[in-house]
């Protein structure tokens, strides 16, 4: 059975835990603690180690879903988790103080996952604020990381079908790039 390990990254409050909850076909392993920073992001709990879920794509491909804690003080977990991942779903909430900056920050932090497999970006909470849209994210992406092929979507992490589309896009992206890599390595 083929397996993929996908990391869900992005700032606190972007919807990483919710996205894994929506996608997973097993009970999600969660590591939540009450949130001391409600003045920063107003939500009751926050992930402090990881989230873990699983989903089968097709009949044979198991995708392991790991979510990171979004706060920088947990970046030792980022180092641990990114070692085992092959691709990244980067979620950025439109109502963050600097959504485009967050995208660039997390992309740079986890850049090796693009090189190793692939990345997709999901913009969340775009329905609650009039923040930057897909075109703004794509433009910022091209400006800060020219030449990277990274699909950008708006998504609601609570909606399973939207998250499935995002995840499948990433899996196809990873497999296509792997196939091209193999083809390039073969003698003509």
């Amino acid at each position: 059975m083929a397996e993929h390990v996908i990391l869900f990254t992005g700032p606190m409050g972007a919807g990483k835990t919710t996205a894994i909850q929506s996608l997973s076909e097993i009970e999600v392993v969660r590591t939540e603690a009450n949130n001391s920073e409600r003045h920063v992001v107003d939500k009751a709990t926050t992930t402090v180690a990881l989230d873990y879920g699983e989903i089968l794509v097709g009949a044979q491909e198991k995708v392991r879903l790991y979510g990171i804690p979004g706060q920088k003080r947990f970046n030792f977990m980022w180092t641990i988790l990114k070692k085992r991942a092959k691709g990244m779903v980067l979620l950025v909430n439109s109502d963050a103080p600097d959504p485009l900056g967050e995208m660039t920050f997390f992309l740079n932090e986890f850049r090796e996952l693009y090189d190793r497999g692939g990345v997709v970006i999901g913009i969340t909470r775009s329905d609650v604020v009039d923040g930057p849209g897909v075109a703004d994210f794509a433009e910022a992406l091209e400006r800060t990381n020219p030449g990277l092929v990274i699909p950008v979507f708006t998504v609601d992490p609570r909606l399973r079908h939207q998250m499935q589309n995002l995840l499948l896009t990433l899996v196809v992206n990873i497999e296509m790039r792997a196939a091209f890599g193999l083809a390039a390595a073969r003698p003509a």
Binding site: T31, V48, R73, F76
Partner: protein, 130 residues
């Protein structure tokens, strides 16, 4: 809107006093920290050290311990011990509080002694905040 325990002077002061007393009570204590469940440093001994990174790690460890006991259906996690060649880390929750006490002892202390001391001072912290 609630404020984190690490931002409440009364909690920070009680935690600092407690860790000083803990150090006086056992010569084997090398390092100790009180931190919030979500990884904020409240106080540490020695006080001059930078506790931010360790507080994050200790809170992750506490949450992973809880996740493991949940997964195995064995109730709540009571304490965590990490043994190494140069000492052992003992960690547990302050009863009734969203606080964790994590302490490093050198090998002159047995694991049992280290656990008893840590447990006793976690209870003292709970009593101070009651």
């Amino acid at each position: 809107m609630s404020t984190g325990l690490h931002m409440k002077p009364v909690v920070v002061e009680a935690a600092t006093t407690l860790l000083t007393e803990m150090n006086a009570a056992t010569g084997s204590l090398t390092y100790a920290a009180l931190l919030t469940d979500d990884g904020f440093d409240v106080a540490r001994f020695p006080a001059k050290t930078d506790g931010a990174r360790f507080a994050g790690m200790a809170s992750s460890m506490q949450a992973l311990g809880d996740a493991v006991t949940h997964e195995l259906s064995i109730g709540d996690s009571e304490y965590i011990i990490i043994a190494s060649g140069k000492g052992h880390v003992v960690q547990l929750r302050v009863p009734g509080q969203e606080l964790v006490l994590s302490a490093l002892f050198d090998n002159d202390a047995t694991v049992g002694h280290a656990l008893a001391v840590t447990r006793s001072f976690a209870q003292k912290m709970a009593d101070l905040l009651a």
